[in-house]
Amino acid sequence: MISVKKVNNKPLNLLERIYLYEIARGIAVTTRHFFANLFNPKGLPTIQYPEQPVPLYGNARFRSRHRLKVRSDGSPKCVACFMCQTACPAYCIHIEAAEYQENSVEKYPAVFNIDLARCVMCGMCVEACPEDAIAMDTEEIPGGAADRTEFLMTKESLLRNRPGEPSLKGAANRLANEYLGSRGEQ
């Protein structure tokens, strides 16, 4: 059943049909905006983006550039389990695993690349990570590069954490903590 909405358009009165008065009213509106903005350009809502950073609000803060969390000794929390690479719908994560020589229980990523040019900022990698090792809370908005290679985040660039961030807390670090503790490096 198609619903029909009946619109009661008022017929134009004489002043509106002459049209000039309405034109003058329209021009008055645009002229007011023109002069208001001409004499007060600071009042414009435009943000000059790259020079003028925007404070991210709400969940936008957790959809910014990725980072890899580190332990207090500077080693990545990532154990190269490939969960994020599997979860990634854009196939933008590339991991090559390696083993610690002195620690046979744990792997680490020898290569951890994220191609930001392909990333869709969905956050699935963060959801998938069992070690809480990847996060998207750097509040940097990727984009705007002169070359595609500039979009490629390597392990070294991903380990750029915010200051004061390395964490030893949490069950995910239990194995590592035990290992580090056994070596007396806690």
């Binding site: 021009i27 509106v29 002229t31 905006h33 023109f34 435009t46």
Partner: protein, 371 residues
């Protein structure tokens, strides 16, 4: 050699002065047209609460977008100059010139000042004071249709041809109104020379109101402005082009050929602004300013030197031109586009009868006053 100069002093002087006037006036117009391309984007941005172009910079100095016209020009020159394989090569090339040349020609008859005394010689501040300047304007602006139609026809593209048909129909229709609205002015001022009309607008009505065209013919002013915007093919009458939905006559044009059409449009804005200022707002006249200085209605006098008076008059003309250019931009960005039947209806059913009525009323009043 010296004898040659002595013998032909008048002709050489005349040619030299004319060349200087041409260079100065056309240079100013072309420069201003370049700035208009920026002004169009800036004005539209400001009235829509945007910033507009402000990124084109030279050595890091952007001056809020002042280099944008240069950047646009460089971009246009560097673009591929495409021509459809089946296009009429000669006409396709000629069409942009047909669009630009008539518009530039018309600046010859527009007076941008009264006169200027330089070491004993009187220099008329007008390139050519034709006794039938107004008719020349109507005749030559009619030629601009060729640019539109040749462009659409030579492209061998059906959409371009349709756009050209719309353009030709619109321009032919509004030309009639344009001519008829000016008839009232000719009746009042008794001359078709623009300089004479401007001088006549220096008189005072009732001792204190300047006899500007807008005072004598307010109705004709509204009709003229409407018809002039339609002649200019700008929104709300831009069905010729209609860049957002219907396709215009220059759809096959690219690079500087397209830019020439675009530039012609911007030069035409300046032309319409200058014509409006000249015919209806006293041209270079400043109210109460005469050859020797200000003479206010109360009897107060303020004598000024000749050079200051001439500078004031040229400045007044420039200010009026800038104002009307701004006004045309505001109108263009305020009003929505007409439908084509509304456009034709407005011309033939509203503007044409009204302009005829205006002539009738002007004639009646003039006859009554002459009695």
């Amino acid at each position: 050699m010296m004898e040659f100069f002595e013998a032909n002093k008048d002709i050489i002087l005349f040619t030299g002065v004319a060349a200087v006037k041409l260079a100065a006036f056309l240079g100013a117009v072309m420069g201003f047209a370049g700035i208009m391309t920026l002004a169009e984007r800036k004005v539209s941005a400001l009235m829509q609460d945007r910033v507009g172009p402000n990124r084109a910079s030279v050595f890091g100095f952007a001056f809020n977008g002042l280099f944008q016209p240069a950047a646009d020009g460089i971009k246009m020159i560097l673009k591929e100059d495409f021509m459809p394989a089946r296009a009429e090569k000669l006409l396709f090339t000629l069409a942009p010139f047909f669009a630009l040349v008539p518009v530039l020609l018309l600046f010859a008859v527009i007076p941008f000042g009264d006169y200027f005394m330089a070491s004993g010689y009187m220099v008329e501040l007008q390139i050519a004071d034709l006794p039938l300047g107004l008719f020349l304007i109507l005749a030559v602006s009619g030629l601009a249709i060729y640019g539109v139609f040749l462009g659409g026809w030579a492209s061998k593209n059906n959409f371009a041809l349709l756009g050209a048909m719309r353009g030709a129909a619109q321009m032919v229709s509004y030309e009639v109104v344009l001519g008829l609205t000016l008839a009232g002015l000719m009746m009042i001022y008794g001359s078709a020379s623009l300089q004479d009309m401007v001088r006549a607008q220096g008189r005072l009505l009732f001792g204190f109101v300047p006899a500007w065209g807008v005072v004598c013919q307010p109705f004709a002013f509204v009709l003229f402005l409407t018809a002039a915007i339609a002649e200019n093919k700008r929104t709300p009458f831009d069905l010729v082009e209609g860049e957002s939905e219907i396709i215009g006559y220059f759809m096959e044009y690219s690079s500087m050929r397209f830019a020439t059409f675009m530039f012609a449009e911007f030069v035409e804005i300046i032309l319409v602004a200058m014509l409006t200022a000249t015919l209806f707002f006293g041209g270079w006249q400043v109210p109460y300013l005469y050859d020797t200085g200000f003479m206010f209605p109360g009897g107060a006098l303020l004598p000024l030197g000749h050079h200051l008076v001439a500078a004031l008059q040229v400045g007044a003309f420039a200010a009026k031109t800038v104002f009307f250019c701004w006004f045309l931009l505001i109108v263009r960005w305020t009003l929505p586009r007409f439908r084509f039947d509304q456009l034709m209806g407005l011309c033939w059913k509203a503007l044409l009868p009204l302009s005829l009525l205006n002539i009738l009323a002007t004639g009646a009043v003039l006859t009554f006053l002459a009695r």
